[in-house]
Structures are given as C-alpha cells and as structure tokens.
Symmetry: C2
Subunit: 216 residues, 2 copies
Amino acid sequence: MKDSEKNVPSVVVKRLPRYYRYLSELLNQGVKRISSNALSDKMNVTASQIRQDFNYFGGFGQQGYGYNVEYLHGAIGDILGLNDGDTMVIVGAGNLGKALASHDTFEKRGFKLVGIFDNNPDVIGTVINGKEVMDVSGLEDFIGRERVDIGVITVPHGAVEETVERLVKSGVKGLLNFSYMELKLGKDVAVENVHLSDPLMTLSYKIKENKQESKR
Amino acid sequence: MKDSEKNVPSVVVKRLPRYYRYLSELLNQGVKRISSNALSDKMNVTASQIRQDFNYFGGFGQQGYGYNVEYLHGAIGDILGLNDGDTMVIVGAGNLGKALASHDTFEKRGFKLVGIFDNNPDVIGTVINGKEVMDVSGLEDFIGRERVDIGVITVPHGAVEETVERLVKSGVKGLLNFSYMELKLGKDVAVENVHLSDPLMTLSYKIKENKQESKR
DNA sequence: TAGATTGTTAATCGATTAACAATC
DNA sequence: TAGATTGTTAATCGATTAACAATC
C-alpha cells in the first residue's frame, strides 16, 4: 500500500489547509526552510504533531535541515488537490453569493469560478466580479458542458433541496454548502457544510466563559 | 464546583452550535420531545456522545422520557450565551461585510448588529440592511458609548492589525475574524478565526480522494 | 407497575506527545 | 565529523463508545 493510500484521519486532513496557509505566508516572506520546531512556535501546535501529520503522506523533510518551504507548500497543495484546476459555480447571487464570487482567495488557492447563477430576473445579467449572472434554468446544461467540479450553494433555505438535486444530477463532484440545511449525500459526491453562525456562537460561549472567570 | 464550572473540552463546545441548530429545526417542526437515540439518528453521532456531551452541563433529560426539545434548546442557548443580547459591529463594509450585515441568522441567534464601519468615503453613509455605514474614525467612541461586545473583522489584509488594535483597546470582548491573518490575543479577548477557503480546500481533498477510490 | 431512556461509570479506541535512533 | 532535525516507534493522554444501574 502506498503512503498516499493510507487512510488519513480526518482531524489531520482538517489541519492541512491551516498548514498550507502558514506555508503560503512563509513563502511570501521569502523564508526558504523551516524546522518543525520553528513552525510549531508560529502555529501553536507541537512539533511532534507536525512531523506526525506530514508523515501520513510520507515525509517531506530532511534530517538535520528541516523542511524546504516551497517544496512543502507545493506538496501540501498537491495533497489537497489545489493543483487539479477544480472549477466551480456559485448558485444564488444574493449577498453571500456575491461576496464569495468576489473573494479572491478562492482563485489564489487554485479554484476557478466559471459561473454564477440566480433565478431572479432582476439579478440575471448583472455583472459580479467581471462575470455575468446566468439564469439558473441553464444550470444543468452549463455544468455538463463545462464539466464543473464544485457547486457552491448560497440559495435561500427553500431552494436548497432542488438546487442540490440539480447539481448532483448534473454531475458535480463536490458541494460547498452555505445554506442553513446540513447536507448528507452518498459518498460519490463530497460535501462541506459551512455554517457562518457557528463560530459566532462559539465566540459567544468563550466571551461568557471569560466573564465568569474574571468574576472568580 | 458547580457543573457549569467544570472545564468543558473544546471539542464538546464546538459541537454545541450544531446541537442548537438541530434543536431549532425540531422546535420549528413542532417536535415536543426527543430521545438521545432519535437525535443520534438525525445528527449522525452516537447517542452515547449526545448524553455524554449534555452531561458536561449537568443533564437536561428525564429517564424514560428523553429530552424536552424546547427546554433543551433553551438550555443550550443559555450555555452558548445566546440570550446575553451580545451586540456587535462589523468593520469593513466590503462584499463580505455587506453579506454578513444582511445575514439574518445572526439576529435569529440573538446577536444584535449595532453598527457597520468603513473608511471609504464612497461607502460611508450608504445603507446596508437598514443601517447606515459609519466612518471608522468614530469606531472607538461608538464602541465605548454603546458598550459593544463583539467586533467582526472584514477589512482587507493590510488593515487588519490596526483594526484589531482599535477594537481591543475600545474594549470589545470578542473578535470574529474573517481576515486572512490568524489572530492570537491575550485571554481576556476571545477570538474566532474564520477562513472561508479552508472548507473549500478540504472539499477539494475529498473530491480527489473520491476519484482515487473509484479508480481502484 | 413495566418499559423506556437517562445519567454515569468503565472499557475501548484513537489521537497526541515524548523519545530517540536514523541520517543529512 | 559533529550538530541538527527528521521519521518513527512507544507511552500517554483524552475522547468516544459501551454498558448498565438509577429512575421517571
């Protein structure tokens, strides 16, 4: 069994984007090499965990030297599939859809926004970040023709179910779901659910905890 | 030591918003009671974990009956501090700031948006979701006067540091940070960092994994 | 009461950390 | 070579699951 086929715990996978971000920053700063210890300080994780994590994918470092930042950055990008040129469409050109369409980090991470869709005649035809909003009635055709990989769901609550169905039927391979509804699908279509109010609630908990602590 | 003062593992805290969302939905559907087993089916977690989690805060159920949905919903809301009437300001009225300002889920969860700030003269004075965008130069005054609890950071990269400093100095108790930069602060100010591209990267990984699997 | 289901303890599992031999 | 730091195994810690007595 190749290293890349070992089953990687999902806690590790969820840490990869974070590593990737920090390495991007180091790369920007022109840092050439970094040790697990130095990275550990920066990221507030243990050096041991860093080495352990990387070794799920088979060691990118060199004894006595550390890790080459550029190489490691590229390797993690590959593992994450950021160099696969995944294309995506945004369905729902409301405020959130618009914001995501204009969010340049997506492009910087190697994703290509190829279409924005809405069902509102007033919105169809308007231009967001240089792209014309298309009529959602043409969604299936477009996805099939352009072989779109990812569907980003930013439609209102009531339209989620239908949107998901249509995206999946058209053959997208993954859904990034910003709707209130939590999606579970068959394992042939990957899903990530994003709930913007979750971190706000967690923050609220922490604030409350801080208050209680200071009272003691 | 009271139950509420036990130190709750952060994995448990991070699950609370999810419980809260599912309970909101059940409440909407008019469901009166639910057992850990039934909830377990719905949420794809074990019943054991649900009971274990709730018991960190001291048991909300009743043997032989299960949990009263309304009561449990309220209790978790209390734990999360959603009934504390936390106020918030959004700093940065760009696309993301606008989207968040219009995101009604925040209000539904008990948070009160009291101000939106920007430094761009073209944006100052415009109205977002019924609220006029204010000049960021008045940020400190406003926060002090209105005793704002939470600062939501949606400014561009270059303005993050200054924004954080000003928010903290003015006395906010928590930051919800959407900027690229990952914040760490002293423990008197709570922070949640949100990185919108992280779930997209994780999704990309899953898609890639699916592809490899189907090849085998 | 009998049945159901919690609260909670004990067992298991997995993830993190520590340690160190391998090696650049 | 000597020093540094990885890759990797072993030890520890914590979280999840299982089990069941308590009890509504």
